[in-house]
Symmetry: C2
Subunit: 542 residues, 2 copies
């Protein structure tokens, strides 16, 4: 008999995120990384160049005294330098902490201090934000500015241009060669309740996420593809795309801030994009533009849609254009891919209408995620497509504990509660019906605020609809519908209640409707229901 240690006879190869870029540089050196800036001008780089410059950035960080485990922040839009930063920071064991420039100042300040960032690599356009934040961010020692030549200090802290920072640095810096469980990235979630919480990705979790993101049923990238990455690198790990494209030697196109229909169309056709990923809003703008100009798409094959539910009209419009929609669900805490509405053989045999209904759900898990739905007491619910429950997930790319938290974020069986409410049907498809904190608990049953909102938003006069719970002495909670009308419109409560009639259960019918001039939104554009509940603590008198 041999001991277990004697039997490790396959090669050692740590799952560290430097490997995809080294591979791309060696085997796909001239494959392009194209960055379009705010003015619409494109800069063309390639994997060989990006790898060389990322190595120079690593060397510059080491020369600045950065050690394993240090947090290095980025505050930048999508661009080749941001890609270099992701790899250059993590490849030496320091942690790439992506900051979301759309957050409120107090959130960003909390996040930088909580993370203890030592260096911030930022777009020059974000200097005004840094001027406001940095006076109260003592851990930040210096700023490296992308797109600036010889910047003055910011809030008294030394600043240097990105090119000057990496210029002349050696390229033979050692990458990887450490424990794959060391952290590689840090991304904070910005819930509307409480302080932001940090998710600390390990090299292993990032690499496994990349592999799972790249299997045939998910992104399935090849070296013939070209990806337009609309999803920002500061949000939810950019869906893992920068790692996946490097792994597959896939052309990567970064669109810059211009996301109107004409700009996105120009990139899709001009760069021969085959796969893209973005939130529904961006696609709606594109489709409106295509319709108005009677245009077709000649190279696009697949779009990954996530971030919020995909409207049926959007899916059908893409279907007519010959573009496959992969509707996905996930969150920062799941790296982020959780499920995707990838057809199984059984679903493929259904009539078209039912297939589309399945495709509009959030979809199935891959091997990397195990999922269950439970009631409030933690009892597992059946996969009948009817009973909604708390969506809980488990897997190598799912968080166990938030950064600097004292307690684990998982239950006794190791599942993380996503905070979402959903059903799972007989085909294994998840459908999200609500956020747990937005559920309305009425007479011991749940009412989905999201479902009522989606229907109410379909009223021709509605611009945005929100449904919140108001306290009720008899039922505990009852729904209240809050509507922002389209410009110039006026409406009555009865009009909206009549519109809902027959479309929802009678006991789901809101107890009132209020019209607002402004709908309160959070930093990332989502409805701020916490604020709405403060504004409307009860059903207003008619």
């Amino acid at each position: 008999m041999h001991s277990a240690a004697d039997l490790r006879l396959m090669q050692t190869w740590a799952l560290t995120v430097d490997k995809p870029l080294t591979h791309a540089s060696r085997w796909h050196p001239r494959t392009e990384i194209v960055s379009r800036n705010a003015a619409g001008l494109a800069t063309r780089s390639n994997y060989a160049t990006v790898e060389r410059r990322a190595r120079q950035l690593s060397a510059a960080l080491l020369a600045a005294g950065v050690v394993q485990g240090d947090r290095i922040a980025t505050l930048a839009m999508n661009g080749a330098e941001h890609v270099e930063a992701w790899f250059g920071i993590a490849a030496i064991g320091s942690i790439c902490h992506t900051l979301n420039p759309r957050l409120f100042d107090e959130q960003l300040r909390f996040i930088i201090n909580h993370a203890g960032d030592r260096i911030v690599i930022a777009d020059a356009a974000f200097v005004p934000i840094l001027e406001r934040l940095l006076p109260s961010c003592p851990t930040v020692e210096r700023i490296v500015l992308i797109g600036a030549e010889a910047p003055p200090p910011i809030a008294g802290k030394p600043a240097v241009g990105y090119e000057a920072f990496i210029d002349g640095q050696p390229v033979d810096v050692a990458w990887g060669d450490f424990d794959e469980n060391l952290p590689a990235g840090l991304c904070y979630t910005s819930g509307t309740t409480g302080n932001p919480k940090g998710v600390l990705y390990s090299h292993r979790s990032q690499m496994l996420h990349t592999l799972f993101a790249n299997i045939g049923e998910n992104l399935g990238l090849t070296a013939r593809d070209a990806v337009l990455m609309v999803v920002p690198m500061f949000h939810a790990n950019a869906w893992g795309v920068p790692f996946a494209t490097a792994m597959s030697g896939t052309k990567l196109v970064l669109p810059g801030p211009k996301l109107d229909g004409e700009s996105v169309y120009g990139l899709l056709e001009g760069e021969a994009i085959t796969i893209s990923c973005a939130v529904p809003t961006v696609w709606q703008l594109l489709l409106d533009y295509l319709t108005s100009k009677h245009l077709k798409l000649t190279t696009l094959k697949k779009v990954l849609i996530g971030g919020s539910a995909c409207p049926e009209a959007l899916l059908r419009a893409f279907d007519e254009l010959g573009v496959h929609v992969l509707h996905a669900w996930g969150m920062t805490e799941t790296s982020p891919i959780g499920t995707g509405a990838v057809e199984s053989a059984a679903v493929a045999r259904l009539p078209k209408k039912e297939r589309i209904a399945q495709q509009l759900k959030q979809g199935r898990v891959s091997l990397s995620v195990d999922m269950k739905i439970t009631d409030d007491e933690g009892r597992t619910l059946p996969h009948d497509g009817r009973q909604p429950g708390h969506v809980k997930v488990k897997g190598p790319c799912v968080i166990a504990r938030y950064f600097r938290a004292e307690q684990d974020a998982v239950d006794a069986e190791g599942y993380f509660d996503s905070g979402d409410i959903g059903t799972i049907d007989e085909y294994g498809y998840l459908q999200i019906t609500d956020r747990a904190k937005d559920l309305i608990k009425s007479g011991g049953e749940w009412i989905s605020s999201v479902e009522i909102e989606n229907i109410a938003a379909g009223h021709p006069k509605a611009l945005i609809a929100a449904v919140i719970a108001v306290p009720d002495p008899k039922w505990r909670e009852r729904p209240l519908l809050v509507v922002k009308l389209r410009p110039g419109e006026s409406a009555t409560a009865a009009e909206f209640l009549g519109f809902l009639e027959g479309k929802i259960a009678r006991w789901w019918m809101p107890d009132g409707v209020v019209f607002v001039e402004e709908m309160p939104l959070g930093a990332t554009g989502k409805l701020d229901k916490k604020r709405l509940r403060v504004l409307f603590p009860a059903v207003p008198a008619p």
Copy 2:
């Protein structure tokens, strides 16, 4: 500052091979596993059933006293029970050792004793082999026979039917939950020189191989696909297919021993196969059948071809049928996928003729393999598509040391020498030109025996052609062409030399041609050049 240990905040999830089957059973329970037997009859199982029975097999093995690290052999054709055995054995930490029934008795006897197998799970059809082997295999304690009810002892050792062995066993046996670096599988290579050598796959290497095999540019399976797995489960890890299909919830069809064109065609159409994998011979039989019957393929999209070089005519025939050929290279020591001729964007822009030339090469590496070619002194050669060198590979699914070997099988930089000779071109495509041991070293330069063989085999009178080295006082070695003619044909040496003229360099021209009645072949059907060299130690007098 936090220590590294504090920062392991993503969930723990060991890469163990039980997970794909558990996933398939939970999320794709009714997806089929179809096994056709020697009589052509199909048995239909599914992932839920296979998982349940695999768990019962695990329980039966534990009840029989099997512990972690024990070697449990299989001697079986492709079938649902063999799939159950792969998972049931490895999921409890014992090692699934696949025996190749086509090997010579002395090789099998050596392998069983070297591995120290405790139990053999075998097809009843292989009882005659076991009767011959087991009298000299002292470590084997018992035999479990698939397809037998109450078998008598074999060579004095107790035998039990597979169904009786698992019947009544519990299904709640614990799977996985151990170190992912523990071994999961064992497969011996049967070189024509020396004793067979064992490759011991770890759970981690098997799982990473599965993930890499399943990325978009390789198998890229989805739950809508159906795979016809022709490659046997006892050879080269079955290209990792049983793990990949389970991971993706893909229908798996096992063809049994009948691999004639009509049988394979019937399965492809009858089971709506989308992807298949086999050696070129099987495909040639299918294409001949399709041509003779004027048939088309309606569901097949992709074939993975490996094991030996893919002839151009085969590739073009599939191309006309609308089936994509993925030409791949690998070996038992690489788990086995090493390279695949997957088009990059640069190759896709070439004219059709050049694209096909690239597709006929062995192809590019994925992230899981790093590759170099070196001269005899170990110096790395350029990627110019001209200079052949020793093909050396590195990665998480590549062997470091053979089972029970005293020394590592890698060089100082950690590369494993594949024993193949090849070029790498500017697109990163490997082309295998020879086996190192078959190279002819003439006047300080290499002559590729394979290249001359391939051309000579194209002579209309040739059935099989072999080129071997014979000693030469001036040039050290010179090529000798050995030909087995088609039945009823006769030919002269001059005819063959004339056929080669203009197709190879003048100094590559064989010094002689000999015609043989029988070509010596090894157990797996490959040319036995060792035997040829004994038969022809010099160029025979004309």
